[in-house]
Each structure stands twice: as C-alpha cells, then as structure tokens.
C-alpha cells in the first residue's frame, strides 16, 4: 500500500500497447517513436539543406559565380538557412532528443500530452515540404531573416515560406508547452529539481523560450503574409509601414531561438562529459542555474542584431552590455565542463570526442560573439562574412557537434546497437578538419571586406573561397560516412546491452530499446545521477531487466 500511496496518480497506469504498423510507427503516441520520427525527418531535411550548402560552395569556387544564376543562388542560401534552423537543429534537439530522452530521464511513462506531441510532430514534415516546395514557385531570396521590403519583392514562394515557418512555429510552441508541463508535473517521486539530470535542465530552460518567443515570430510572419497577399501595410514604408518593425519582431524570436538551439546541446555536453570522465559533473547547481540565466537574459538582447539599423544610439547600450553579460553564465558552463574532465578517467569514445570538439569550437564561436556584441566592432563586420563564420561556429561547432555527440551516445539506447567507433572517429576527424577549413577563414574574409549573401565577389578573395569549398567537400564526406554508419549499424551494429557506457541516468537502467511503457514500476529517486562511487539512487527498478510480467491497467 505504501508504494501505491507514494506513487499514487496516473503515472503508474500502463496503457495497453497499440497494435498495427500505423498506430505503432506512423501516428504513434509513444514519445520514443515520436522522438525517432523527429530525428529521421530532421536528418532527411539535413541532407537536403546540406546539398544546398554544397551548391553555395560550388558557386563560390569562382569569383564570378556561374554555377547557378544570382537569383537561384539567393533562393538556395535562403532555403539552406531556413531549413537548417527550423527543420534540422531546433526539431532535432527539442522534438528529437528531448522527446526520446527527457521523459525517461524524468522517470515518466510519456510526455504530459501524447496526442499534442503527435500533432507537433506531424506539423513538422508538412511544414518542411511546404518550405522546400517554395522552390517550385520562386523561393524567397532575402535570406533566412527575410527583411522587408526586400521580402515583399521576393518570389511567390516567399508567402509559402511564411506559411511553412508559421506552421513549424506552431509545432515548436506545442512542443514547448508539452515539455514544460512534462518537466513540471511528470517527474518520478523524489526527482526534485536539484536531482534532475542536466539534459532535462537544458530542456526546462528551452521550453519557455519555445512557448513565448515563437509567438512573436508567428505574429511577424502573419503580418508579412497579409502584406504580401492582401496588401495590408505593416512593413512597406511607402504605405506607412515600418521595415524596422519586422527586425524587432523577428529578432525577438530569433535571438532566443539561438538559445533554443544551444541549451539542449549544453545538456547533452553535461551528460556526455560526466559519464565519459567517470566523474560527477562539476558544479551541478551552477550549470543548472546558468541555463536558466541564459534563457532569461536571451530575451533581452535581440537588438544587438540591429546596431546598424538606426535604433536610437543610447538604446544600443543596454543590449550591448547584456550581451556581454551572457558570456558569464556561458563561461561558467565551459569552465565547469573543463573541471569535470580534470582528474577523470576519460574514455575517448566518439561521443566524447565530439564533446571535446564542441568545447573547442563553440568557445571560439562564443568569443567571436563577444566581438560582435561590441557596437564599434559590430559596425565594421555586420553584414559581412564574419557573421556566417560566427553563426556556423556556434550552430555547427556547437549545436551540430552536440547532436553528433548525442547520436553516438544515445544510438545504443534507441536501437540496442553501437555505432561503429572506428568510422565514428573517421567522421570526427574529417568533420573537424573540414569545418575549420571551411569556416575559420570566413572571419578574415568578412573583416577584410567581403559582404555576405553574394553570388559573385571581389576576385582578390577567390583563393580563400576555393580553399573553403575544398574543405567543405571534406565535411560533406564526413557526414556521408556518418549516415552510412548509422544505416549499417541499425541492423548490423555490435550489440550494446542496456547500459554500454556505464551511465547512471534513468534511461540507462531499462532495456535498449526501451519498452513501450518505459518502466514496469515508476522508480523513486533519492539522489543525483552523477555520483559514481554511490549505489544507484533509484528504487523499484529491480524488475526492469527481468522477465517479470507487465501489469497492464491500473496497478
């Protein structure tokens, strides 16, 4: 009786597993299947957007361009940016890893609203197809930021772009609500906020950003759509609109969005570095607190994207200082991870290598972010290749390295099999070399005078661009190796068992792949998951790896 009293409520109730392919794998309500659906869909869009990236690099092999027309080039980089942000990184880190890992780490059977979760997912591939279909009717040309009045001149596909991003925004918002309620209400007994794994802290900091910031973007997109389709003047200055209004609304979303893209990756880092250093994560409370601090401050820095847009000069100052200030909590995380590695017994698995790569590359992107926050320097490099350099260092060197690290780490949990470690190392080495060769010289190009979003450029920069393109082919080869590795190892990888890494969070205490109901009995938690010398801080897990029967229905 005491168990039931302690565990009372809906969490103990196990629904019967749905039967049939469609209910099980297509319109599934299971957070793990939905998570994998997100990951697969996002990887499909990643391949498409990656092909667009290579079109960009081939075009820039020659100073006069010539591979595609200037207009096609503009369409290509606009869709590349939009797809990578909204169809790859955000869904992968929130809908993908968040869905698969977070409920199990919390000791829950599912997210709070499984139906809502299914709807969130199915909006996402629809929105993705809509986004790519804009190529058929003249895709947007003004980049992923689509500043009006330029976006008012763009092809008919720009309206389709608005609708697609709006839809993917609805999907994000619903996921944010779902995750927030899940983390607040569905934690296993004893799983207090100070015992929660740091990946869940990352998701907890991200969820309100998804909920609140995305609504501002939705409003901005609706207005742009209305102006384009029905001539309602919001942004056209000749009709009394304001082009700068869009920039405020867009960045009020898109700056928090960069934290949506990095906070879950921070969470992955905390898990991976602690597990493979065989040490408790250093300064748990400071890492958790700094995630919340970054999320909060992330709402108050959007105008640092607009220092050249003519906002009142004194208004620029608080945005600059607050942006500098975000370096403090971010620095705390980096230093804490370094301290976690100190004195460890470091297993240099592929997942850990990507985590180390993250530390090296993301820190560089963070530092160039401080450069950009300083108004006088930003006035020089704004709108130049320095910006793509910075954003690829944080989004590829940060978020994507985090995604790779998480894939190598959780793939055994998803499939029960390892990814090949050998090919993983090849992937890592080629990727880092290709990445540095592609994006490091862009800082110099920007500072020296090459503007971004150009289909042809000053011939003095041609040799640098050719070098970058060659390195980008190496990066592409690395990603191909990764995909082949994944496709091969789903069926043929080495069997991994339920806890191949010796990790202590809850998802590793149940079979791989986890059963439909996750836990036969909801566990109780009495400690942090990072104390390697202590016994596991969970009770009621004795039956999880045995043949003990599952009681369907209320227990």
């Amino acid at each position: 009786m005491s168990v039931i009293a302690e565990h009372g409520g809906i969490a103990e109730h196990i629904h019967p597993e749905p039967q049939g392919f469609v209910r099980k794998y297509v319109f599934s309500l299971d957070h793990k299947i939905i998570g994998i659906q997100y990951i697969i869909t996002a990887f499909v869009f990643f391949v498409l957007a990656g092909c667009l990236a290579e079109i960009i690099r081939i075009q820039l092999m020659h100073a006069n361009g010539g591979f595609v027309t200037a207009n096609t080039y503009d369409e290509v980089y606009s869709i590349h940016g939009s797809a990578m942000v909204w169809l790859v990184i955000i869904p992968m880190l929130t809908g993908g890893f968040g869905n698969f890992v977070m409920p199990v780490q919390l000791g829950a059977r599912d997210v709070a609203f499984p139906w809502l979760n299914m709807i969130s997912f199915w909006l996402f591939p629809v929105a993705g197809l809509m986004l790519f279909s804009s190529f058929l009717m003249g895709a947007p040309v003004a980049g992923w930021t689509e500043y009006p009045p330029m976006s008012l001149q763009g092809g008919a596909g720009t309206s389709m772009w608005c609708a697609a991003i709006f839809l993917v925004g609805v999907s994000s918002t619903l996921t944010g609500i779902n995750f927030l309620v899940t983390i607040l209400k569905m934690r296993a007994p004893g799983m207090t906020f100070t015992r929660m794994p740091l990946f869940c802290w990352g998701q907890l900091a991200t969820a309100p950003l998804l909920m609140i910031a995305t609504t501002a973007l939705a409003a901005a997109l609706a207005a742009l759509f209305m102006e384009r389709q029905f001539g309602v003047p919001f942004y056209d200055p000749t009709k009394g609109g304001s082009p700068v209004l869009w920039q405020h609304m867009f960045w009020f979303y898109s700056h928090p969005a960069v934290y949506i893209m990095i906070l879950p990756a921070f969470g992955i880092m905390s898990e991976v570095i602690s597990v493979f250093s065989r040490k408790p994560v250093f300064g748990y409370r400071m890492i958790a607190f700094s995630s919340a601090a970054i999320a909060l401050a992330g709402f108050m820095v959007w105008a640092h994207h607009m220092f050249t847009s003519g906002i009142a000069p004194y208004m620029q100052l608080p945005f600059m200082v607050l942006t500098f200030a975000i370096a403090v909590p971010t620095g705390i995380k980096i230093f804490s991870w370094l301290a976690t590695m100190w004195g460890g017994k470091i297993h240099l698995t592929t997942s850990m290598l990507f985590a180390l790569g993250f530390l090296v590359l993301f820190t560089f992107g963070g530092i160039s972010g401080v450069f950009l926050a300083a108004i006088p320097f930003d006035l020089h490099v704004h709108g130049t290749y320095f910006i793509p350099a910075h954003l690829h260092f944080v989004l590829v060197g940060g978020s994507l390295m985090g995604i790779f690290s998480g894939m190598y780490y959780w793939f055994p949990k998803m499939t029960g099999r390892y990814l090949s470690e050998f090919w993983g190392r090849v992937h890592f080495a080629l990727f880092v070399i290709g990445f540095l060769g592609t994006f490091l010289p862009m800082h110099w190009l920007g500072a020296e005078g090459m503007p971004r979003r150009v289909a042809s450029y000053d011939p003095q920069f041609q040799w640098v661009n050719q070098l970058e393109s060659i390195f980008s082919f190496i990066m592409t080869a690395a990603i191909l190796i990764f995909f082949v590795n994944m496709l091969y190892c789903i069926r043929n990888g080495k069997k991994a068992g339920h806890n191949p890494w010796g990790a202590r969070t809850l998802e590793w205490q149940i079979p791989s792949p986890p059963p439909y109901y996750n836990f036969k009995h909801i566990p109780s938690v009495f400690g942090l998951p990072y104390d390697f010398t202590e016994p596991l801080p969970y009770t009621h897990l004795e039956d999880e790896l045995t043949d003990a029967p599952v009681t369907v229905g209320a227990q």
Binding site: P376, G383, R452
Partner: protein, 361 residues
Amino acid sequence: METNKPGRGFWVTTAILAVISIAGVLYFWLMPSVEPWLPPEGGHPGDQVDWLFRFMSSTAAVLYTFVVGYVIYFAIAYRLRRSDPPDALGVQVHDNAKLEIAWTVVPTLFVILLSILSIKIWYVLQIQPTNGLVVESIGRQWYFTFRYPNVNGEVTDAMHLPVNMPVTLNLTSNDVIHSFWVPDMRLKADMIPGMINTIRFTPTRVGRYQIICTEFCGTGHSTMDKQTMVVQSMPAYLAWYHDWQQRNAHVSNAIPTVSSGAISLAGGDAAAGRTLFSQKCSACHALGPFEQRIVGPGLRGVLHDESHPELVDGDEATPADVAKILQNGYTGSMGHMPNQAENGLSNNDIANLVAFLNTLK
C-alpha cells in the same frame, strides 16, 4: 583513487599555456598594424575600432589558449590507460566554491571592463563634429547616388570627399534596405526607406575606397560594390565639386516620375548615353551578347541582333520600343526592369541612352 590536488603536470601545462597566451597578448597588442586582420585604416573614428579589436583579440587569445590547452591536456593526461581497470573512476569532486566564485567574478569584472571601454568608444562615435561637409547618399537597386550641397540632382560616378574634413553622411534608400559600408573607414549604417541614418567621420588618408552594400537588396546585390569613396586634397575636391555643379546645372531636382506619352528621341547624344550606361545600367546589363546575363540580358547589338528581332516585351526591336521599356519598365519571364520613376532617368537621358544603344553593333 588519485589525490584531488592538481599534480606537477597540470602546473607545467598551465605555465606553458600562460607563456603562449602572453605571446598572443603581445602579438595583438604590439603588432605594428592591424593590416593582416583588417583593411588599412582610412579615417577617424575608425582608428578607435582598431584599438578595440586589439584589446578584444589579446584578451580572447588568453581565454582561448587556456580552454583549448586544457581540453587537449586533460584528454591526454586523464585518459583511461591500458593499465587502468576498465571500471576505474575519476576523482569524485562535486564542486569547489572558491574556484566557482573565481570563474564567475573574474569574467564579470572583465565584462564590466569591456563594457566601459566599448561605451567609451561608442561615445567617441556619437560626438564626432557636426559642422563639416554634409553629404547624402541614397541606396538604389543596385547602386549608390550622392547628393551634395548646391549641386543639382544626384552624383553617380563616385563619392568625393576632401581629406581631413569632418563629414556628416545622411543615408536613406529609394527601394529596399541597403547598407553603406566602407571597410577602410570601419563604418556602416543601413539605408532604410523612409528613415535617415547618419554616420559622422573624418577621412584622414587620400585614396579610393570601395563602397560595399552589406544588406541583401535583390539580384544585383552582389554587384553593388563597384562605386568608390574618393578622398582627395581640398583643391582637387573643390575642382571636382565645381565641375559637377556646372555639369548638373540643368538637372531638375524634382522627384522622378514616369512621363506620359512617347518620348522624343530627337537629338540623343550617344557619348552622354555611354556615360549614363556605365553609371546606371552596367550593374545589370553587360555590353556582351544577349546570353551574357548579369541580371538582365547582354545588350550588344540590342537594336541590330538578327537572332533576336524582338525585344523582351515581344515587340519589334526599334529605338521607340527601347525607349518604351526604359520609360515603363518591364516585368516578365526575363525578370524585372525598373521604370522611369525607379531608374530616375529623365526623358533627355532616355534619348541619350537610346542613341548610345543604337551605336552598338
């Protein structure tokens, strides 16, 4: 289990990293010129930006050396060795209050210092003299035009400025957002339709500097870097200024509109048309064959091309039809060609251009 005090290797590594970072600081602080990293300096207050770049780069060198150095050192020194049992554990430290306070407080102090320095330089940008030459620049798809006091119409060849004279540059746009950037001056502001943004600076070095648009503004954005800022001595500037004043004396300052009715082509001056073409058309049209597209088709022999007896609007290639396209613009399968209100050509300009195009064979 190992001791939880750092060993000798850690301190040796720290010493090596300290030496490397001091070398980095000295390099960025003492390098004779920022030229390896930024274009040569052409004016004030751009020199202030260089100072901030030196400061930020040298401090970044310290931070980055230590982060990368420790990542590599820890990964090697604390790796699981073959001699270790596979389930060996690291030193079980959870936190260290002193260390955590240190790496919160030190970066906070640095942020305060960087804020003070940046605000100081920001303030220098705000207090530039307002009593110098006032020039307006208007962004258009896809070129810049310049307006000078007491010069009629718009100057399109280049932006001429006297050296060592403070300049107030008022920026706006005629169509979409452009951004005005002269890398050598380290200055930039967006040109936004319906708004005026201002840059104040003083060029201090004679020379020609590229003006580059850094905000995507349409198909021709990539080619919007052909014009220059010409900084010259005061006598040379004045000579240019008076010349333009006379040359533009007849130009109307009225806002351009699309004129009604057919344009008279009598008296078109092909030489004047050639100059106009290089200023206003060459961003989008080459003087090569039809297939050589920049944005629009190449115009060599536009009126004498037997393989293209019709123009893009489907009418027969006659001087009157070229004039009609220049007057009313064109939107269709070949793209968009601005009309007279957008391209700012007068009826006289159109007659000159048609005369010039007629000479191309």
